[in-house]
Symmetry: C2
Subunit: 331 residues, 2 copies
C-alpha cells in the first residue's frame, strides 16, 4: 500500500489538522516508460505554506484532494520499458508527501549517495542550499568585507547562505530564535555574532553589532525583523527577499514600514525564486560539495520519522522547534 498526505481544504491563518488527510491506497501501476520510486525522505519547507493558498504566485497552488507537493529523495524500485532511470537509482525531485510514486523521470535528477548522504540532497545540496547559494552570490552580490545580516540563521537556507558569506570574507551577523540556536550559529557555523530575537531588542543589538550599518540583509522572515534591518542599511545596501516565514500564517501581511530607508540609502530590495537557477544547480552543487569536503560548509538535517507525523513535523517550521533542514522520513 501507499500512504500519502492529501490536501483537504485551504487554510486561513495557521493550518489546522483537518487541512490534510492521511490516506492509504494501492501503489501506482506503472505505464510504459515509468519508474516506481520508494521515497525515503521528504523535504519540509516554509514555501509549502504558500502553495496552500489559492492565489497567483510563482507556482500553481496544490489542488484540493491532490497529494501535498514536496521535494523528495528516494530509490527506484521498479521500471517498465525504456526508462530515464533504472532500478537502484536514487533520484530527487517532486515526489510529494507519500511513500511511493510513479514518474517518467521528468524533473527528477539522479544523485550519487557515495558522495553525500541522501538527506543532504534535499538540504544543503538541494533546494534550500541552491536558494542560499544563488541568493547570497547572485542576488545579494556579496563582496569581501560586506556586513551581512542573516535572519533564520539556524535554518536550512540561512545557515548555508551565512556560511557562504563567511567563505567570501564578509562579516556575518545571524538572527535566530533561541540561545541554543545562536550558540550553534556562532560556535559551529562560524558566524561573527548572532542575535536572539526572542530575548534581545533587535534594533539595539544591531546598533551595537553593526555600528557602521549593514551592506546586505538576507530576509527569510519578514515582519519586525525586516523593519529592524531596513533601519540599519548602509548606502547602496541590498536586501534579498527570499522568504517571510513570520507572515505566512497571517491573514494580512505586515508591510515594511521602514521601506523609505531604500530611498534614503539608495538601496535595493529584490525578490528571488530558486527555480530561476535550475540550469545552474549542478555548478552550485559541485561548489558546495567541495566546500563541504573541505570542512568549510556545515549542514545539519533535523529528521523526524513517520508519514503519520507530517502535521506535527511540518508545524516545527513555524514554531522554530528544529535546527537546520527539516526532513520527514516517510518509511
Amino acid at each position: 500500500m501507499n500512504k500519502k498526505i492529501i490536501l483537504k481544504k485551504r487554510p486561513v491563518g495557521f493550518p489546522d489538522k483537518d487541512t490534510w488527510e492521511l490516506i492509504s491506497e494501492n501503489k501506482p501501476t506503472l505505464k510504459d516508460g515509468e519508474v516506481l520510486v520508494k521515497t525515503h525522505y521528504v523535504s519540509l519547507d516554509p514555501a509549502m505554506r504558500g502553495w496552500l493558498n489559492d492565489s497567483k504566485s510563482y507556482i500553481a497552488p496544490v489542488a484540493i484532494n491532490d497529494v501535498m507537493r514536496a521535494g523528495t529523495i528516494g530509490e527506484v524500485i521498479d521500471a517498465k520499458g525504456a526508462t530515464k532511470f533504472k532500478k537502484g537509482d536514487v533520484i530527487t525531485g517532486w515526489g510529494g508527501v507519500q511513500q511511493y510514486f510513479s514518474t517518467n523521470g521528468e524533473g527528477h535528477f539522479k544523485v550519487d549517495i557515495s558522495l553525500a548522504p541522501m538527506t543532504k540532497y534535499i538540504g544543503a545540496l538541494g533546494m534550500p542550499g541552491m536558494t542560499a547559494y544563488f541568493g547570497i552570490l547572485e542576488v545579494a552580490k556579496i563582496k569581501e568585507n560586506d556586513v551581512v545580516l542573516m535572519s533564520g540563521a539556524a535554518g536550512a537556507v540561512g545557515s548555508v547562505a551565512g556560511q557562504i558569506a563567511k567563505i567570501k570574507n564578509c562579516k556575518v551577523i545571524g538572527i535566530a530564535g533561541s540561545e541554543d540556536k545562536c550558540k550553534y550559529v556562532v560556535d559551529t557555523l562560524g558566524f561573527d555574532a548572532c542575535i536572539n530575537y526572542k530575548e534581545e531588542n533587535i534594533y539595539a543589538a544591531l546598533k551595537k553589532l553593526a555600528p557602521e550599518g549593514i551592506d546586505v540583509y538576507f530576509d527569510n522572515v519578514g515582519g519586525e525583523i525586516l523593519d529592524a534591518a531596513l533601519s540599519r542599511l548602509k548606502m547602496h545596501a541590498r536586501v534579498v527577499i527570499c522568504g517571510a516565514i513570520s507572515q505566512y500564517n497571517s491573514k494580512e501581511i505586515q508591510g515594511p514600514k521602514n521601506y523609505l530607508s531604500l530611498l534614503v540609502n539608495r538601496a535595493t530590495m529584490q525578490g528571488m525564486v530558486v527555480f530561476d537557477y535550475v540550469a545552474r544547480y549542478k555548478e552550485a552543487g559541485l561548489q558546495m560539495g567541495t566546500w563541504m569536503h573541505q570542512g568549510k560548509l556545515i549542514s545539519e538535517e533535523d529528521v523526524y520519522d513517520g508519514i503519520e507525523n507530517f502535521y506535527d513535523t511540518f508545524n516545527r517550521l513555524f514554531t522554530g522547534q528544529k535546527r537546520g533542514k527539516l526532513v520527514l522520513n516517510v518509511l
Copy 2:
C-alpha cells in the same frame, strides 16, 4: 530689507502655521568673494517636508531658526572682490525661502534665460526634472514597450518622467487626483491613460488598463497606490522609490503589505536621491532642453505670488491643489 521664512519648530504630522515664521531683517552684507542674489522664484517640493524631521536622512534637517531650505533661481545684483558670478548673472541653487541671500557661489550654477524662462530651471530643467530623468532612465532602466505606471502623473517629477517614457516608446499609465489632471496627463502630456485615484478603484482600473501587468512602477506617493502597483507587477519588474508624499505627514509610515510580490515576480524595488547624479545634470539638461524645443517634452509651472503666502502655497503639495511644478514668486 530681506523677508525670509525661518523654521520655528519640528512638526508632528501635518505642519501647522506656527511651524515657520516670516521675519524681516537687513539684507546681508557682502564679504570679499561673495555676491548678493535677489531671488525671483523658490521651488516648493515634497522633499521639503522630510527636511523638517530631526532624523537621519540623505541630507541634514533644517535647523531651528534657520531659513527654510529650498531650491531657488535669482539674479546677482551685487558682487564684492573676485567672485564666481558677476552682476546680472542668473543663478540657481539653494537660496532658501527668502528674498535675498549672499553666497560665494558654491553649489550654485549660472543658467541662460535666453534658452528657457527662469521657472523651468527650478522645474523640468531643475531638481524635479533631473529626478525624473535619472529615475526613469538610470534606476527604472526603461526599455521600449515596457508598461510604465506613474503616480503623481500631473506633478513636477511624474509629468516629466512619464513623458520621457513615452519618448522611449513605452506604454505609460498615469495616476492623478482629479479628472482635470487626468485629462491634462492624457490630452496634453500624451500618456496612454490616467487613473483618477480619488474616484476609481485603482486595482480594478489597473487590471483593465494593464491586463498583462506592469514592468515599471515609478512611485512618488507610497501608501495604497504603492500596494496596488505591487499587486500588478510583471516578472522582473522594477519599482523606483522616488518619494512617498501620501506618507510624509503621517506619524507612522504605511509599509507596502504587498511587498512579497517582489519575491513572486523576482522584482526589484530601488530607492533614489537625485543628488547622486549632480555630475550628469548638464548632460540631462541638454537632452531635456532639446526635447522641449522639439515639442516632445512639455512642462508647466504653477506659480503663486508672495513670500507671505509660503505656508498656504506649500500646503498645495499635499492637498493636490496645483498642477506641474509648484513655484513661489517671493518678490
